[in-house]
Symmetry: C2
């Protein structure tokens, strides 16, 4: 097995799905948390950060960047990406649908992080309508096993449950309207494979 | 081999990479071009269009939606996604970087399609700075074989060359500043495997 080092800030953000995948499969890795001060010093190092961004997964010293590419790579290593190419395609479709939800909320998430004054406007004009439009579509993907794909738990379950948790903790009144997604979030966070990690993980809001 | 039907409008748009992949690998498929009138009648058919959107690839009658998921599925079938999971991860990283470029230009592309009056503003404030920021990064990915990955031609070459061509045909003065990307576009469109398709394809602008 290669030597893995995952670089990101001390936050869940764009690295948490990779951490969940690695922990789920008990794949050893170094979970490197970079402080903002340290990041200013090292972000110019192209041998580790080809785009000057994190997350980056170093695989035997060679960087793999872009969180979604990292997630898909690790998902295959972890056995969380279906059994064959067709299943992977179907899971990939759900990944894309969940990503659209995530990407649509970028401005709102930013306003929360930076505590900008337009938070309420973005809540009313972006967050609420995005949830109302997209969450019913995502909810329809839940299968009889409680996960998104009939083959069982996949990286998209980990990705989406983590994302949903972020917004659920802030807006239970809105996200609580999708009981199957709430159940999905709880089911993922109750997976026995994740308990060791989740119990030692700090409760980062983002 | 499954029976494939690819549904999209009579345009390149979000379906052209899939068409290029299928044609490159000589995988038989029905290239269904849906008129705007026809689309209004059929888009509610969830058995074919789960999100009420195209493109959709029907695989033995079962729909796979989301263009990027379709591309990755087909790329593996076509042998255009590297040799192993690590190579697929590296190619996926470049896919993500090219997608950010594409997604960043969404508003400008829309203004061109709909001929809205804010075209010039979007050209100056969105198109030009996006190119200046992102194309040098993408250009750095070109390897000594002229393609993005050292393993040879991949679906990301087909995806990006098609995208680059759209904007190159409109703004040669801007995109001509990236000679390796111009060469890449030409190299992809000169691939022997694509000549039959390209020669019979209409010259759709988008």
């Amino acid at each position: 097995m290669p030597e893995y080092k995952l670089y990101y800030f001390d936050a869940r953000g764009r690295a948490e799905p990779a951490r969940l995948i690695l922990n789920y499969a008990k794949i050893p890795f170094e979970d490197v948390r970079v402080s903002k001060e340290e990041w200013e010093k090292v972000k110019g190092d192209k041998t580790r950060f080809p785009y000057g961004q994190m997350p980056v997964l170093l695989i035997d010293g060679t960087p793999l960047a872009q969180s979604n590419a990292i997630n898909r790579y690790l998902a295959v290593e972890a056995g969380l990406a279906g059994e064959n190419n067709l299943e992977r395609g179907q899971i990939g479709q759900i990944e894309e649908t969940c990503r659209i939800f995530n990407d649509s909320l970028g401005l709102y998430r930013r306003s929360l992080l930076l505590q900008t004054p337009n938070q309420e406007t973005l809540f009313n004009n972006l967050f609420v309508p995005t949830c109302e439009k997209q969450l019913p579509v995502i909810e329809e993907h839940i299968t009889s096993n409680g996960f998104f794909h009939s083959s069982g738990v996949t990286y998209v379950d980990l990705f989406f449950a983590d994302l949903f948790k972020t917004f659920y903790s802030l807006h239970q009144d809105i996200l609580g309207k999708y009981p199957k997604l709430v159940e999905h979030m709880n089911k993922v966070h109750a997976l026995p494979e994740l308990q060791e990690y989740l119990s030692k993980r700090g409760e980062n809001k983002f």
